[in-house]
Symmetry: C2
Subunit: 408 residues, 2 copies
Amino acid sequence: MSLPLSDRAKVMPPSPIRKLAPYADAAKKEGVKVFHLNIGQPDVPSPKEYWAAVKGCELEVLEYSNSAGIAELREKAAADYCKQGINITADQVLVTTAGSESLSIALSIICNPGDEVIIPEPLYANYIGFAAGTGIQVVPITTHIENNFALPDSEEFAKRITDRTRAIVICNPGNPTGSTYDRAQLESLLKLARENNLYIIADEVYREFYFDGERPLSVLQLDGSDENVIMVDSVSKRFSLCGARIGYFVTRNAALIDPAIRFAQARLSSPTLEMIGVIAALDTPLSYYDALREEYTARRDVLTQRLRAIPGVTCPDIQGAFYAKVQLPIDDSDKFCKWMLEEFRHNNQTVMMAPGTGFYSTPGLGKNQVRIAYVLKIENLNLAMDCLEVALAQYPGRTVTTETATAQ
Amino acid sequence: MSLPLSDRAKVMPPSPIRKLAPYADAAKKEGVKVFHLNIGQPDVPSPKEYWAAVKGCELEVLEYSNSAGIAELREKAAADYCKQGINITADQVLVTTAGSESLSIALSIICNPGDEVIIPEPLYANYIGFAAGTGIQVVPITTHIENNFALPDSEEFAKRITDRTRAIVICNPGNPTGSTYDRAQLESLLKLARENNLYIIADEVYREFYFDGERPLSVLQLDGSDENVIMVDSVSKRFSLCGARIGYFVTRNAALIDPAIRFAQARLSSPTLEMIGVIAALDTPLSYYDALREEYTARRDVLTQRLRAIPGVTCPDIQGAFYAKVQLPIDDSDKFCKWMLEEFRHNNQTVMMAPGTGFYSTPGLGKNQVRIAYVLKIENLNLAMDCLEVALAQYPGRTVTTETATAQ
């Protein structure tokens, strides 16, 4: 008789972003240069304010913090939201161990096992993981590369509402799609949520990453967002502090704060020294974001241009975040991404990407897609695109013939 | 129609250790000195090796780490276990965001909602929290202050096994009891677990805190522990690094590693800089632990002596960890602990303790008990005991008359 595993242990998916890491490690051991386009890990330096605060810390004992976060950080984060036009007070912000924990707490306190959340797909793969961990059903609405993964009409959401539906989850700007949603779209979703007594969980961790025009609106900036909205936020991308594990759970619905704090108390505290660093990072001047946006706009432009020049590749328009969900002329993105790491070399270089299937809840979708995180300097991005172009011409499972490919 | 909360949001208890924090904050604002005996937050300085590594870190970008932890930390932690006679390899150790996450992953991967875990009580309050968060039923076995909260015979455990039982959870040395379990007791529990196809989850985060004789045995040192045992560990107490949030999930059962890694991938990474600090902290010389034990032995002795000198107080024998689960001559520990913070002052000082009820799964137990964490210097511990002694004489809900109390 073997020892049992739980059902959630069985359904928890491996991360499509990380599951190929052993193959990348093996390639690196052979001396191959691997360009990491698989993971949203920016190469931008973390703010010097962060490093100065951490290195200048004069604590002797690294103590637990308040479960809801260091008071100064909650106050400063709230003030920062207000500066952005999002009216939030310190008691409406809980510090979490990154956006991951914020989402996990949000799902846990509003959903019972078996309850449903509606999410446009392709979606951030880890939503599937958190739903699996908490026994929640993801009800996907498939969006399409042909119209740049645009948000479906609220009628499409309405059709999927059942008596088990508890929330609509959106990511704006979108991981992995690069889409952003406008005021009319957000208002229509909020209206639907209010009419049907649903929450909106808005993952807005890419708020600073927008390329054309205005900063995308937060759902918390809409009238009527007080009761129904939970915002999931994080400093990981904004401050290039992915390793700090500091995020926020933000809502104006006071009824959610108490259970969220009780969940936070169960794990005692987020990392104290990291909070001290983030308090300082919040003094980062606005020019940091401007430079960030300029750099990512340039990267987006290069990526889009290079991808669209490769025969058989479809690259959607990208408005925000730093991902592209790209369609390739391949049979199977899992096989292709693994082949790139195990067998393909171009000038002793190769590229790691995230296979597309892990970003869909609907089985079978995304087989000819990959997610590309354009988090590298343009020079390296160009080298990575050189690799991809050659690889697509050589890959045995290509679905566009070599003749067609090379003729263009 | 109000927006619904989940069942787990309703049953997740507030932390008995932290729920009175607002009253302590209010007292401090009045200028009152509050001695914190409520929380296992040692006042011992964190290792200088930790601070040097963190402050000397030359990274420019604070990146995500491998979801299972930085390889060097896994290797060093495994080597450290081997030095202690616990044979563990690097691939059997996953780095987690403190012991809290290790326990949460362990419960999640072995239990479905509705499954049962047997735990001797009084128990670490947060076990109740994690069980609530994951929908697991705690089946308590009450232990008694009269015999120092000794581990019940395995027959007592056997009686509580049902077809929903998945694990026995023990904490050794024990929080909040201060008990340690010997080889014969552990062997008998492991035998029972093996016979009934159960896991043992062994929380051994207080391994270095033992006062009389030998270091307590780890369950992983027993023959036959390969399949059935998951050890929950943490550097929080050992290195006085509660705020670092670094722990370990340790097992030799290879079938558990893969699901645990998938759960870890869903939250991406533990804090990177903290891992870098802990890698260095593992070079802490053995003399650090010797000094730690010497200090805590002295504190235990003072605490025990002082408590036993107060009329109506029962203090059990304490063999390990740094807690005492003490019986007081009071009507209600929740009221008493709150009264201490709100109303009682002695030389403008008071004491914060954790009410006893939160450490029992059985409703109604622990009403005349508190948990005292003796994590303060002896001088402060004595001042705190002065406060407690005077408070017990004045408390309106005392159950020993003032005459009796002052006559002794």
